[in-house]
Symmetry: C2
Subunit: 501 residues, 2 copies
């Protein structure tokens, strides 16, 4: 068995290295690549992804996994070896259903669509992007057919990012949360002026924004010997190795929050990846459990730490040192209230914690409608705008601030958006457990000790790599399945206090 396990690991290492080489090419595409490089880069990425796919779907790997699956039954479910075999087999069975030709077509189409999206967004003209989105959609319908489903076409797409999760389950969770937060949004709307954040909307020099963000992620425990930050139009985190995990951010010259919280958010993702156990590197279980779990990490650091009263009690003097003029006379308490201002708005990545999930629900519904042919691509801007009005009471003035704002559909990643909300819910559930395990958490944050949180996450979440589904992890760490009770209570308590509702 050991010999076969070693062969499995050797094969997976090559597959992983091809994936990481693709990640480098993808990172460059979004950070530094000149416009002329797009067409060739699409060819290069398509090749690398095809080679990785060929390796992962080879008959030889299949035979190896069949042999090993029998042996795995004698090992503890959560052991490294049993998990490696189980998860690889799960992924293998899915991957075998997808023809290499389709994989290559999706890669090429995505790369072209990304280029088109960048230009269309700059010109704020959805029509320029529409044919590329149409193509991405067609390929994802084909993908869903290949993967197979019994209930909803969205199921196999969602399953790519959140293994085991079903569309109907997400719909139920979303309906449940919406029922609780809509009254909260309404109650807060009546007190819209209770929080003043005008001072956050003034000129903040980019270089200084950069420096303050770096200070924050260093405090979180992000290591620059094993990572770096660059600029990207849509911030993301990418991993080339456990010791090379990179974050990106973007700047709004006249708004404090955008870069600062993007950096903390991506820093949260990166801490998860920098926390991979080296022995799990270059396998199928070295990464994150799922995108929902990944997002639980980024949102916890962004919101439960970065938007907490305790953190700002510590960090305010640091922020004032960098921006003495802009933050003159601003107390930690005033900062805390300002960064937590609730206001229905146009841009998802700038949304407050209360309204954020409404942006996700909208996208989740539109993705389902597009895939099930209930909405046509050309009608998307109108439908988007109407739903924005319905859910948030605002209407985008143009496509750039509306339907074109997100990168995801240019990459063809349908089924991805709901994981953002699942991450929010899971973050709150984890944070309840953390508060029970570390009673003096707030006091530690007030001293600038964020390491205590990272240590907990490393021991309880990061160490498991990709062994478990979100639900398995939730049960293991908190003793129950994913629930939204913690999240709703967190919102009601935090914003009830700020807005006195």
């Amino acid at each position: 068995m050991q010999e076969k396990l070693n062969e499995l690991k050797t094969r997976l290492a090559e597959w992983a290295d091809l994936g990481r080489a693709s990640a480098v090419l993808g990172w460059d595409q979004q950070t530094y690549m000149p416009p002329g490089g797009g067409a060739a880069r699409a060819q290069q990425l398509a090749l690398l992804r095809r080679l990785a796919h060929e390796r992962f779907t080879s008959d030889a790997l299949g035979r190896l996994l069949d042999d090993l699956s029998g042996d795995a039954a004698s090992l503890p479910y959560d052991s490294d070896d049993a998990s490696l075999i189980r998860i690889t087999k799960r992924d293998y069975d899915k991957a075998r259903k997808v023809p290499p030709k389709l994989v290559a077509e999706m890669a090429t189409a995505s790369a072209h669509a990304f280029q088109a999206w960048q230009k269309a967004k700059a010109a704020s003209r959805f029509a320029d992007f529409a044919p590329f989105l149409q193509r991405n959609l067609e390929l994802r319908r084909e993908l869903a057919q290949c993967l197979g489903y019994t209930d909803r076409i969205y199921d196999p797409l969602l399953d790519q990012f959140e293994p085991g999760m079903k569309t109907a389950q997400v719909e139920a969770i979303f309906a449940n949360v919406r029922k609780e937060i809509v009254p909260l949004v309404h109650a807060i709307a009546k007190k819209a002026n209770a929080v003043d954040d005008k001072f956050l909307h003034q000129a903040f020099a980019e270089k200084k924004q950069w420096d303050l963000g770096i200070e924050a992620v260093k405090l979180m425990g992000y290591e620059f010997e094993r990572g770096r930050q660059d600029r990207a139009p849509h911030p993301f985190t990418t991993t080339f190795a456990v010791d090379d995990v990179r974050i990106t951010t973007r700047f709004l010259p006249k708004f404090f929050n955008a870069a600062f919280f993007a950096t903390m958010h991506e820093g949260g993702h990166a801490l998860y990846n920098q926390g991979t156990r080296p022995e799990l590197e270059r396998t199928t279980i070295g990464g994150a459990a799922s995108l929902g779990v990944h997002e639980s990490q980024s949102r916890m650091w962004e919101n439960m730490v970065g938007r907490s009263r305790a953190f700002w009690k510590y960090f305010m003097p640091h922020a004032k040192k960098v921006f003495p003029r802009q933050l003159q006379g601003v107390s930690a308490e005033k900062m805390y209230r300002a960064i937590n201002r609730v206001q229905p708005s146009l841009i998802r990545v700038e949304a407050d914690e209360v309204t954020y999930n409404l942006h996700i629900m909208l996208r989740f519904e539109l993705e389902n409608a597009l895939l099930e042919n209930r909405v046509a691509v050309n009608d998307l801007p109108q439908v988007w705008n109407a739903k924005m009005q319905e859910y948030l009471g605002v209407t985008p003035p143009d496509d750039a601030q509306g339907v074109l704002q997100d990168i995801h559909w240019s990459y063809g990643t349908f089924g991805y958006f709901p994981t953002y909300s699942l991450g929010n819910f899971f973050a709150a559930q984890l944070f309840d457990q953390i508060a029970r395990d570390i009673p003096d958490l707030d006091a530690r944050f007030e001293r600038g000790d964020l390491r205590v949180l990272l240590d907990w996450l490393r021991a309880n979440v990061h160490t498991h790599g990709r062994k478990f589904t979100l639900d398995e992890l939730a049960n293991k760490v908190t003793g129950e399945s994913l629930q939204t009770r913690s999240f709703v209570a967190y919102l009601q308590s935090k914003f009830g206090e700020i807005y006195k509702v």
Copy 2:
């Protein structure tokens, strides 16, 4: 035949894309990668290079080339198709001699050696780099054995970078040039104070140096829609596609020349690569004829343009606009003399045109001595320093400014250095032809019209891609083989006038 040609091109496209993916990973390694990323990057690069090598050495490709080689005889020697078949066959026969295992070992060793070199150079401690250099050397001896040679172990290594060139030929050329330039160096040494370049050694803000360099390469015709510049400790040019050719530069805060001429130099390389005919892309004949020819392009732009009187008659007002204080009262003529100051110095990349080739001769001799076991790795710093004293009359105060200054040996690229000098000689030979073809060249440079030179190079050099050897190209374009007469005359005329010797 057409069908087989198409199959050849399809196979080569995949090989080329793997090479270009490697280039992206290599570029990142030298520009942005955090220290932690090195080990994993070595694995990733080794894999990509192995896969490319496997594709290029497959039996199927060999059979295809055998079939096509017969057909090629009926086509004109310099046609695209005949050249594609001929050059691919030449490269294939060489590549078949190298076992994939050795290719992977060289890639891994190089990546580790590069990391070690960076640290050793920062600490100025050759001993930390020595074992990595030893390993690189051993692997290159093995490579030379695989490739085979009848005369010198250096021959097959040189041939990798300068096809068809022999070690003995380089020795003869070098001896010939040395005989002419040593008296010139001595004559100039007696008038060391005839040229004042003190104003070039003062503080030049990095951002402004950057801007001025960009202005110069734009004037040369380098297109930023199809490229970009980044910082790197050792400037280089790299190509990810004909429309994505990138340059790098480095800055010395108190010396004008370093960044400015590095940028023009790399710009010269990049213009060659941006000038590839798109139909030659992703084949074996899409690149440069050889490294010597490549260097002829960079050195021509750096020296025959960038260090010419005519260029500075045009460019001086632009430089003064960027550096009004530093260049106050400096005439174009004074600038011309200053940037052409001759002084034996420690660092190759900062050497003047007269002494530059002595740096190359030293490295060429040491490489031969190392490979032929006439010098031991551990003795290298002493031998280096002794030869520096002998050739240039200077002794490095530390390893960083001596034996550790160049990146090349960390990459294991033995046989590469002489191509720098061959490029210098060929640049002068080409420039003589250009002066015959474009009688008003100087007048055009004085008007800022550098495009006329680029157009000539595109039509006479770039268009041929990699079809010809240096010698074939020399004969085609100038009617004679590579000669050093033009170079010696160029030096004697230019520096004879400046120094009145």
